[in-house]
């Protein structure tokens, strides 16, 4: 068989890439021992160069990223600070005394609630030039710190502004037989529940 490029010469090898017969002068031997024709050898060498470039780039990248992963005192400081800050915020947000989430028994503590509202009314007047609110709900939340869901409980109390005394505050439906407590800015009056408020 003749060489593809030299018709007068006998072929000694076949190109490992394209398979054409090539003579000894045309054959290029690769590092792995395979023979290539000139064109394939060129392509093969370009490919090898490309591969080596990619390898070099990868190695450079590894070196670079390896350098980043080297932690010094500053990196440890940052991580420890972050952990400390997270712990502090955890203590602030989830530590300490919790507001009771259970339902407040207003029916059982009606009289205490009455006094609380009266106390709030007096502070309202102190801040508002001795004026009193039109409705009890106006006290919430600045003077009477009630939860929104508890505001309807204000209906347990009877409140009206009185031109003479300032206001009249009492329990709307006092227990039968008990003395009803009527609070005004000037003091407390007692009235029998059988007589009506």
């Amino acid at each position: 068989m003749k060489c593809k490029h030299h018709p007068n010469r006998e072929a000694e090898h076949f190109c490992a890439s394209c398979g054409i017969p090539i003579c000894g002068d045309c054959a290029e031997q690769s590092q792995s021992g395979d023979y290539y024709c000139f064109q394939c050898a060129m392509l093969h060498s370009v490919s090898e160069v490309g591969t080596s470039l990619v390898d070099k780039r990868d190695k450079a990248g590894e070196k670079k990223s390896g350098k980043k992963r080297q932690w010094g005192p500053f990196q440890y400081f940052v991580v420890v600070s972050a952990v400390l800050i997270a712990v502090m915020w955890g203590v602030i947000l989830f530590g300490g005394e919790k507001t009771p989430g259970n339902k407040i028994d207003f029916a059982k503590q009606e009289r205490v609630f009455l006094f609380m509202v009266d106390s709030s009314l007096k502070r309202y007047a102190q801040y508002q030039n001795n004026k009193y609110p039109e409705k009890l709900v106006d006290l919430v939340p600045k003077y009477l710190p009630m939860r929104k869901e508890d505001i309807p409980e204000l209906g347990r109390l009877s409140y009206e502004r009185d031109p003479q005394s300032g206001y009249l505050l009492s329990i709307a439906e006092p227990k039968p037989g008990a003395m009803n407590i009527i609070i005004t800015p000037k003091g407390i009056k007692y009235q029998s529940t059988t007589e009506g408020v």
């Binding site: 800050i85 300490g96 005394e97 609380m116 502070r123 009630m146 407390i188």
Partner: protein, 151 residues
Amino acid sequence: MNKGLGFTMIELMVSIAIVGILFATAVPAYNAYRERARGAEATIVIKQIMDSQIAYFLDNETFFPPPDEPIEISHIDEPDDPEIEAVYNNLNIRIVPGRFLNYGFYHALTADGPEFTLIITSEGGFNLPGGSPMIGYVLNDEGYISDAFGL
């Protein structure tokens, strides 16, 4: 860190950011601490008032103030307010206004006998011992002090 050459810009920026976050954390931490301190102060005052009220009842067989004259002491009252003087003269407790607490003294005549109710309100909305900014305690003529009723 560049040894011998100080800090890089990134390190400086991160350090400043950390200092800022630490300050931002310190403020609510301080507020929480202050709140607990005020709550502890309220606990002491409540105990003093209740103890004095029991002593007053043992001496006079009634509570202070009179049942028709409740006393309200606000944190903006003057130190020489007549109501502060009345509490001092009867219960021997000098209430200092301006300490972020408001006091309500109520003596009520009920079907079960006389009752003294103490209302404490925090100025600023911080939680008092019962876990609420407004709490009430009831003392009856048998010396029983109720649990805190908080709004």
